[in-house]
Point group: C2
Chain length 416, copies 2
């Protein structure tokens, strides 16, 4: 199969300009973005992406989960498409690159192919997966999960946000619920470019992360019930302080993660205290414990220890506690052929590279279940992500998109 | 000075009916009330109270802080009035009696006097103090604090709620910002009836708490700043998790309170986590530590230890921390003459009684600075308050109001 020449490069300036243009939609309060899934801002971002895709000669498909598929035809009508993409939605205080780089990097590949008149045997489809972040509607990677058959679509539509609004209704409201049945497409391969969201590549001065595995994830929502009472006149021995139970469990989570170093991590990012009044002892606290490891046995051990020891903590404090698993996926091993295509691309382009385990969940983790899949990572400043201060250099973005393009073109087979 | 006869009693059924009628305004979600200060519901409650006062022949005064003063004339035009009252505002998930019993108990005294044709030398003024709870607009006891010269009125107007609305604007909006300059009134004495909000009287089977002292309070708002980052791909050693710092400080607060047993208490009822997303390590946590003791030296010691050791905790975790004192008052010793009037009333009526320290702050704690003041307490079920399940028996309410009436009438001097 013909490989692209080593001098074949994307237009880094154009890619960067598009990233900055997209970042104007749903601006954050501190230089980043708040373009949460199926909001008006998400709709605006989708429309801009569609305009760009159509200008590049692609036709847009839209499925019932709002996943967008911009297609550039190949020369073989029977060849399955090579898919490339990520997500345009962001965290409430998110950055300009998490997800967006993977979508616009895919678009830039097509623009470069157009510039240079490159044709491929396989069609290439640039994809925007709905609701990757999962902040507004848990779980994360909702729509790629439905596409891959992990979640039921009807269940996904019923996911509610903090205001009680449903994902399906909001998708309809913003006008991006399509007719194409979700998951009907067959893929020759799927490639996702993403910023690392961790500090390793930058610290080691490496250009390209060749993602061999994805860390597994477990989200456990913990609900502690004590007794609301007056902070002044309830003697210490008579208190059932749900906030104190939460404090001790947060300390436990930290301990659990450290006990499986160096790869395991654990924390609670979401904590709601009820009634959240200065002079009322918390009667209820709801929080979500996020535990991750590349080793399935470790995840299972961490979950079990959390439930066992959190129960002991709450028993000691005369608190009731319940646990609900609200999200998670097993560790992922990406397709060997696709991983090799990325490593080969980095070598051909003269980039330094290393194997890396993805610490975060990605749409690629689900798509790996239904198609040969791999990921490219580029460094980000200080490992910072899910933060408005998230930053990458134009050079890193360019190198990542170049490696992505070479892997995609080798897999889609350039027609000479 | 003539004392009321031991057979003089309020109409307990009428008092109870009025309590139930008022509870229909701003109902909670679980049988209690959500009638927060200067909301539309607060305005409705005020209007009902005014209607009742006017029906009982009183004239209503309203000051610039929205404090309400329903006056029944005395026989001596030069005699200062005896004031009696409490507050009609509630917690967001509050009970039907906290505050309300003290206001409607005052009204019931007047109704009983009208029934029996009792006249007093001193006028009697039934008072509803604005924003006692302080949940929507901190600090608690805001308007009685301005009345007593503790707070500046302009500062009080500028207090903002979680939505950024200002107390002064909201008071104006609901139509209860009066013209009378706040604090201009002189008082012969002030009496406040309140539910205990603690478990002591019920546990000991005592009818009447004679409140000799009020516990001092310190509210310290703690702001911890770490670094928002991805829960999956940020290695444990590189985290600056503000949630973990908060957890350790909550444990510290518990330890501080226990170290000053049996009277000191401590907890955090208000905790806000930012950005509060499941897969973002908290970059900021803001919470309020509530510390109380009847001993000023203990409060000062607890505050100092909190600031010192919380700083150490945050230094260890590479977190920044700042402290702001957002509320507080020194322990209070009530007026000996007024306290004696209450004790004498309980004895005359044949009620069991004991001295008690108020665990909660009350308007009486501020008014004690500008007038001879004391408080009566009645039991409440299970010590529960600041909770929709707050409950008292009609008998407890009646006994409390009877003791209140006898103390008020003895002080206002019945004219034979």
């Amino acid at each position: 199969m013909p490989a692209p020449g080593e001098n074949l490069k994307i237009n880094g300036e154009r890619l960067w300009d598009s990233l900055m243009e997209m970042a104007k939609i749903g601006p954050g309060v501190a230089g980043g973005n708040n373009r949460q899934t199926v909001t008006d801002e998400d709709g605006e971002g989708r429309a801009l992406f569609q305009t760009w895709c159509e200008a590049a000669g692609m036709s847009m498909g839209l499925d019932t989960m709002g996943n967008m598929f911009a297609r550039r035809e190949g020369t073989d009508p029977d060849a399955l498409p090579v898919y490339v993409g990520s997500h345009l939605d962001t965290q409430p205080t998110g950055g300009k690159y998490d997800g967006v780089l993977g979508v616009l990097g895919g678009l830039e590949i097509i623009r470069t192919m157009n510039d240079l008149g490159i044709r491929t045997k396989h069609p290439i489809v640039v994809t925007n997966w709905s609701n990757e972040e999962g902040t507004r509607f848990a779980p994360a990677m909702l729509a790629s999960g439905v596409f891959a058959g992990i979640h039921d679509e009807a269940w996904a539509y019923e996911r509610t946000d903090a205001k009680g609004l449903k994902f399906g209704d909001e998708l309809q409201r913003i006008g991006w619920r399509g007719d194409e049945p979700v998951g009907a497409r067959k893929m020759h391969a799927f490639f996702e470019l993403h910023i690392e969201q961790g500090p390793i590549l930058e610290a080691e001065g490496v250009d390209i992360g060749v993602v061999t595995h994805g860390q597994g994830l477990s989200w456990t929502q913990v609900t502690i019930t004590g007794k609301e009472s007056h902070t002044g006149s309830t003697p210490m021995p008579m208190r059932r302080n749900a906030g104190l139970g939460m404090a001790r469990i947060l300390e436990l989570v930290d301990d659990i993660a450290w006990s499986h170093k160096p790869h395991a991590v654990g924390a609670a990012g979401h904590i709601d205290v009820y009634p959240n009044s200065r002079n009322v002892i918390p009667g209820k606290v709801v929080f979500t414990v996020d535990l991750r490891s590349p080793d399935l046995a470790v995840i299972q051990d961490m979950e079990a220890r959390l439930r066992r020891e959190a129960k002991e903590i709450c028993d000691d404090l005369k608190l009731d506690v319940s646990f609900e698993k609200v999200g998670g996926f097993d560790p992922v091993a990406f397709d060997e052929g696709c991983v090799t295509a990325i490593r080969t691309a980095a070598e051909r382009l003269g980039y330094s590279h290393r194997n890396i385990i993805s610490g975060a969940g990605h749409d690629a983790c689900w798509i790996n279940r239904v198609a040969p899949t791999a990921m490219v990572m580029c460094p980000c400043v200080d490992g910072l992500s899910h933060n408005e201060a998230e930053e990458i250099s134009p050079e890193w973005a360019t190198a990542g998109a170049n490696a992505l393009m070479h892997a995609v073109l080798e897999t889609a087979e350039i027609v000479e």
